[in-house]
Amino acid sequence: MHTNTELDIHCSGVLKFFGTLTASVTHELNNSIGIINENAGLLEDLGLMAKGGMEPDIDRWMEITQKITGQVKHTHNILKDLSKFAHTTDYTESLVNPDELLNLVASLLKKRLSEKNVTARVITPDESFDIHTCPFLFLYLTGASLIHAVDHADQNKKIVISTDQDEKKLCITFSGITNKSDMSFLNKKMEKILNMLGWEMKFPENQGKFLIFINKAN
C-alpha cells in the first residue's frame, strides 16, 4: 500500500494536472448533458400530456428548446476549449498570446474553481502581445499555479491573474491568495521544467500573491 506522499510523488506534475483539468471539464460537460437530458425529457412529458388532451403551451415548449440550444452551444464551447488545449502539444515552441492561454486555462478549470466557491478573473493589458514559448508547458505551469491559488484563496475567494511586461520579461501575477500559502506545490519536476524554460517563480512574503517571470526571448 502506498502512502499519500508516495502517491503524490508518482502522480505529481503533468499527469496530476492533466487529471485535475480533465475532471473539471468532464464535470462541466456532464452537467450540460444532464440539463439537456432533463429538458428533452420535459419536452417528451409535455408532448405526452398534450397527446392525452392537455392544451399545449407553445411558449413553454419554445422556452425549453431555447434552453436545450443554449446548453448545446455551451457544450460546444467547452469542446472548443478542450480542442485548443489538446493542440497545444502540436508544437514544442510557437508564438502564443499569454492572455489568451490564461483565459483558456481559467475556462478549463472553471468547474474546479466553482467547487471551491472561488472565481478567477484574467486582467488583460491594453496592448496585447505574443511570446515564443512551449504552449503546453505554459498551460501546465500556469494551470498548476491557478489550482494552487484556488486551493489557497483568501477569504474573498477571488483570484486575479494579471500580466505585465518589459522588454525582456513577461510577469504573470496570481493575487488573492492567503499569506499562509507557500511554494510547496512546486515539486522537483516542476522546478526542472521552470529551469529548462528559464522561467522563475517568486513568492513575496505576506503580499497574498505569487509571480511567474518568463523570458520573452526563449
Binding site: A23, T26, H27, N30, N31, I33, G34, I35, N37, E38, N39, G41, L42, D45, M49, K67, S114, E115, K116, N117
Partner: protein, 119 residues
C-alpha cells in the same frame, strides 16, 4: 412520497423536480447543502436525492448531517464522476447502498425510490 433534491445545477434540479411532480411525486429542490439542512429541520422527507460533488458541503457529508436530523430518511446519491462501481467505494464509506450515475434516467430514479419505500 416527499422527496428532497439537492444539486448545485439549478436548471437540472428544478426540471427534474417538475418531471417528478408530473408523476405524482412531490419533490422540493435546493442547490446547496446549507439550504437542504434548513429544509429537513422543518419538513419530514421520505427520500433525499443528493449530488455528490457540490461546492461547500459535499453530498456524502450532507447525507451524514441529514441522517443526524432524520435517522429514517432514505438517501440516494447521484454522481457524474466515473462509473457506478468507481463511485460505490465512496458511498460505502457512509453506509449508503443507493446511487445513480448522471445524467439520471427518471425511470431508474423512480424505481430506486419505490424500492426504498417498499423495503
Amino acid at each position: 412520497m416527499d422527496v428532497l433534491l439537492v444539486d448545485d445545477e439549478k436548471e437540472l434540479v428544478s426540471t427534474l423536480s417538475e418531471r417528478l411532480s408530473f408523476r405524482g411525486i412531490n419533490a422540493d429542490w435546493v442547490t446547496d447543502g446549507e439550504s437542504a439542512l434548513k429544509l429537513v429541520k422543518d419538513k419530514k422527507y421520505d427520500i433525499a436525492v443528493l449530488d455528490i460533488k457540490m461546492p461547500g458541503i459535499s453530498g456524502i457529508e450532507l447525507g451524514e448531517k441529514i441522517r443526524e436530523i432524520c435517522p429514517d430518511i432514505h438517501i440516494i446519491f447521484c454522481t457524474g464522476h466515473g462509473s457506478a462501481s468507481f463511485f460505490s467505494a465512496g458511498a460505502a464509506q457512509s453506509g449508503e447502498e443507493y446511487y445513480l450515475v448522471k445524467p439520471i434516467n427518471i425511470n431508474s430514479l423512480i424505481e430506486k425510490m419505490n424500492q426504498l419505500m417498499e423495503g
